[in-house]
C-alpha cells in the first residue's frame, strides 16, 4: 500500500489539492506534494487527477476465512429491567431491510433473566428468529457476561451483520465483542445500506458532526455497527407475526463476570425525558413575549 505523486506527470493543475478532504496536499515548485502524516489514504486525489500522476495502491484485502460462511443479520435487543429499548425495535425494522437485500433472515438476540416474553414483541415487529439466553447471571448488565454471551453466540451461528443501539450499554460492551472476535465495528451510524458486492455501507458523523464518513469492513465478519437511537424508524407492530424462538444455554463460565453491579440509582423523573421525545421544539433569542 502506498501513495505518491509521479512528478514527471504532474502538471500542477491543483485539482488534487482542492479535492483532498484533509488538506494533505500542497504545491511545491508547481508539483503536488502529499504530506503522508496527514494523508488518510482515501484515494480521492487519484480519482480526480486528469493525468494519472498519482500512484495509489489500495491495500489488498483478502481474508483467511471464507466470508460466505456468514449469513443473517442480527440485532442485539437491549432490555433493561424487562423493558425493551426502543432502539432494539428500530433496528429490527432497519435490519430487516438489510436482510432482505442480502436474501437472509433478521434475527434478534435477547439476553437477560425472565425475558422470554419479550421475544414475542420482537416477532411482532418483524424478527424472524429470536435467540434467547435466559439466566440469573444476565439479570443486570455486566460488560463481561454480556460480551462473552454475544461472542459465544456469534461464533456458534456466524451472522454476517450485527447491529446494536449506540446506548450507554451498547457503546460499552459491543466494542468488547468486536475486539474479542477481532472484527470491525463502526460506532454511532446514522445510515446503513448494502453495496454492490454485498458489504454493509456504514455512514456516521465525525469531527463533531462536521463531516460524514462512509466506512466499510470488507475482509472480516461479522460486520458490526452501533446505531444511534431515534435515527431509524420503528416498524409497525403486527400481532399476526411470529418468529422461531431458539433457546440457547451457554455454560456458566461464559456468563461469569469479574465486574458486578452493586447498586443502581435510577434518575427520578424530572418531567419528560429529552431522549425519549419524538419532536423537540426549542425557542431562540428571536422569540418575544
Amino acid at each position: 500500500m502506498k501513495i505518491e505523486v509521479i512528478k514527471a506527470k504532474c502538471t500542477g493543475c491543483t485539482l488534487c489539492v482542492r479535492e483532498c478532504p484533509v488538506e494533505a496536499i500542497r504545491m511545491l515548485d508547481e508539483k503536488a506534494v502529499i504530506d503522508l502524516d496527514t494523508c488518510i489514504l482515501c484515494g480521492a486525489c487519484e480519482k480526480v487527477c486528469p493525468v494519472d500522476a498519482i500512484l495509489f495502491e489500495k491495500p489488498t484485502r483478502h481474508s483467511k476465512e471464507d466470508l460466505s460462511l456468514y449469513r443473517d443479520v442480527w440485532v442485539f435487543s437491549e432490555q433493561r429491567g424487562g423493558k425493551l429499548a426502543d432502539v432494539a425495535l428500530e433496528l429490527v425494522g432497519e435490519g430487516k431491510k438489510l436482510a432482505k437485500a442480502r436474501g437472509s433472515k433478521l434475527c434478534a438476540v435477547l439476553l437477560g433473566h425472565n425475558v422470554s416474553g419479550l421475544a414475542r414483541e420482537l416477532a411482532f415487529h418483524g424478527a424472524e428468529r429470536v435467540y434467547v439466553v435466559d439466566s440469573p447471571r444476565l439479570e443486570r448488565f455486566s460488560d463481561e457476561s454480556y460480551s462473552q454471551a454475544m461472542v459465544w453466540l456469534i461464533e456458534r451461528h456466524r451472522p454476517e451483520i450485527v447491529l446494536a443501539g449506540a446506548t450507554a450499554m451498547g457503546r460499552s460492551f459491543i466494542p468488547r465483542v468486536a475486539a474479542e472476535i477481532r472484527t470491525g465495528l463502526t460506532a454511532d451510524c446514522t445510515s446503513l445500506g448494502i453495496d454492490a458486492k454485498g458489504n454493509l455501507i456504514q455512514t456516521r458523523p465525525a469531527f463533531g458532526g462536521n463531516i460524514m464518513a462512509t466506512i466499510l469492513c470488507t475482509k472480516s465478519r461479522p460486520q458490526m455497527a452501533t446505531v444511534r437511537p431515534k435515527v431509524m424508524k420503528k416498524p409497525a407492530r403486527d400481532e399476526g407475526l411470529s418468529a422461531e424462538i431458539v433457546i440457547e444455554v451457554p455454560g456458566d463460565e461464559i456468563l461469569a463476570s469479574r465486574q458486578s453491579v452493586i447498586d443502581e440509582i435510577v434518575d427520578a423523573a424530572k418531567g419528560p425525558s429529552l431522549q425519549a421525545a419524538e419532536i423537540i421544539v426549542a425557542g431562540g433569542a428571536g422569540l418575544k413575549k
Binding site: E19, C20, P21, V22, E23, L36, D37, L41, C42, P59, T60, R61, R80, A85, F141, D143, E144, T167, A168, R171, S172, F173, P175, R176, A179, R182, T183, G184, L185, T186, A187, I201, P205, A206, F207, G208, G209, N210, I211, M212, A213, T214, I215, L216, C217, S220, R258, Q259, S260, V261, I262, D263, E264, I265, D267, Q275, I279, V281, G286, L287
Partner: protein, 257 residues
C-alpha cells in the same frame, strides 16, 4: 498505585470548518490539542496517585508531533510518557489501535488501573478503551463519572447508564473510561513545563513492543474509510412573528410529520 493513561492528539474540533467551495475540511491554522476527554482521565489518574502514591504514565500513538500532548500531560504532573510512532501504525482503526496500545502497556508493565477518556473528540467511537481491556484480558467500565473507593485489590465506580447511575465493583487491575462529570482538570504548572522539556520521551515502534505488523496500520485494520463528505444541508429557516395563529399553525405542521 500505578496508573496508565492512553491519550490522543486531535484537531481542535470547534475550529474545524468546511470550505463551501470545495467541500473539504479547512485544516489551515487548526490547532492540535489533547483530546478534551483525556484531560479528565489525566486529572483522575493524578488525583488517585496523590491519594495512594505510585506513578502516572501517559501513552499516545500518532505522528512524532503528538509528543506535544505527552509534554502537556507531564506539565500537569504526569511522571512518565511513551510515544508510539511509526509508519507501520498509520491508518490503524480502533481495533488495531487498541492492540498497539495494549502491547505498549504490556511493556510498561506493573499497573493497577488504566484510565481513558470516554472517547476521542474527532472519531467519537468510545471503542479503544474497551478494546485495550480485551487485549489485556481485563474487566472494564465505560462512562465512569466517579471513582468511589479504591481498595488494595478492587475499585468501586459510578458509571452513567441511560436511565441513571450504576455502581460497579471490579477487581484491580482493570480499566475505566471517564466522563467530564468526574473532575475539573488542573492547569499545567511552570515547574511541570520545565520538567517536561527536560524529560526524555521514548519513541516505540512495532518491534519495541512485539507487534504483529500484519494486524496494525491501514492494512491490518478491518474497517476503512471509503468516502468522506459534507452532511447535506437541512432545509432553510422560515422566520415568522410569534403570533398565536402562527404558533398554532406551526404546532399543527410539526405534529403532522
Amino acid at each position: 498505585m500505578n496508573l496508565i493513561v492512553p491519550i490522543k492528539q486531535v484537531p481542535d474540533t470547534t475550529d474545524v470548518k468546511i470550505n463551501p467551495q470545495t467541500n473539504t475540511l479547512i485544516r489551515d491554522g487548526v490547532r492540535s490539542v489533547t483530546n478534551p476527554f483525556d484531560m479528565f482521565a489525566i486529572e483522575e489518574a493524578l488525583r488517585l496517585k496523590e491519594r495512594f502514591g505510585g506513578k502516572v504514565t501517559v501513552v499516545t500513538m500518532g505522528p512524532p508531533q503528538a509528543k506535544k500532548v505527552l509534554e502537556e500531560a507531564m506539565a500537569m504532573g504526569v511522571d512518565d510518557a511513551v510515544l508510539l510512532s511509526n509508519r507501520a501504525f498509520a491508518g490503524s482503526d480502533t481495533l488495531a489501535t487498541s492492540y498497539v496500545i495494549a502491547q505498549a502497556i504490556k511493556r510498561i508493565g506493573d499497573f493497577d488501573l488504566i484510565v481513558c477518556g470516554k472517547q476521542a473528540s474527532d472519531g467519537d467511537t468510545a471503542q479503544v478503551g474497551p478494546g485495550i481491556a480485551v487485549r489485556l484480558k481485563l474487566p472494564h467500565a465505560s462512562f465512569v463519572r466517579k471513582v468511589r473507593t479504591v481498595e488494595k485489590r478492587s475499585v468501586v465506580v459510578e458509571r452513567s447508564a441511560d436511565d441513571g447511575i450504576e455502581v460497579v465493583k471490579m477487581p484491580l487491575p482493570s480499566l475505566i473510561t471517564v466522563t467530564k462529570e468526574i473532575n475539573a482538570p488542573r492547569h499545567t504548572s511552570f515547574a511541570g513545563k520545565f520538567r517536561a522539556k527536560r524529560t526524555h520521551v521514548p519513541m516505540w515502534g512495532p518491534k519495541d513492543i512485539g507487534c504483529d505488523e500484519a494486524i496494525v496500520g491501514l492494512e491490518g485494520s478491518p474497517t476503512w474509510v471509503d468516502r468522506i463528505f459534507t452532511p447535506p444541508m437541512k432545509k432553510g429557516c422560515l422566520p415568522m412573528d410569534a403570533t398565536k395563529e402562527n404558533i398554532a399553525k406551526l404546532a399543527g405542521e410539526i405534529l403532522k410529520r
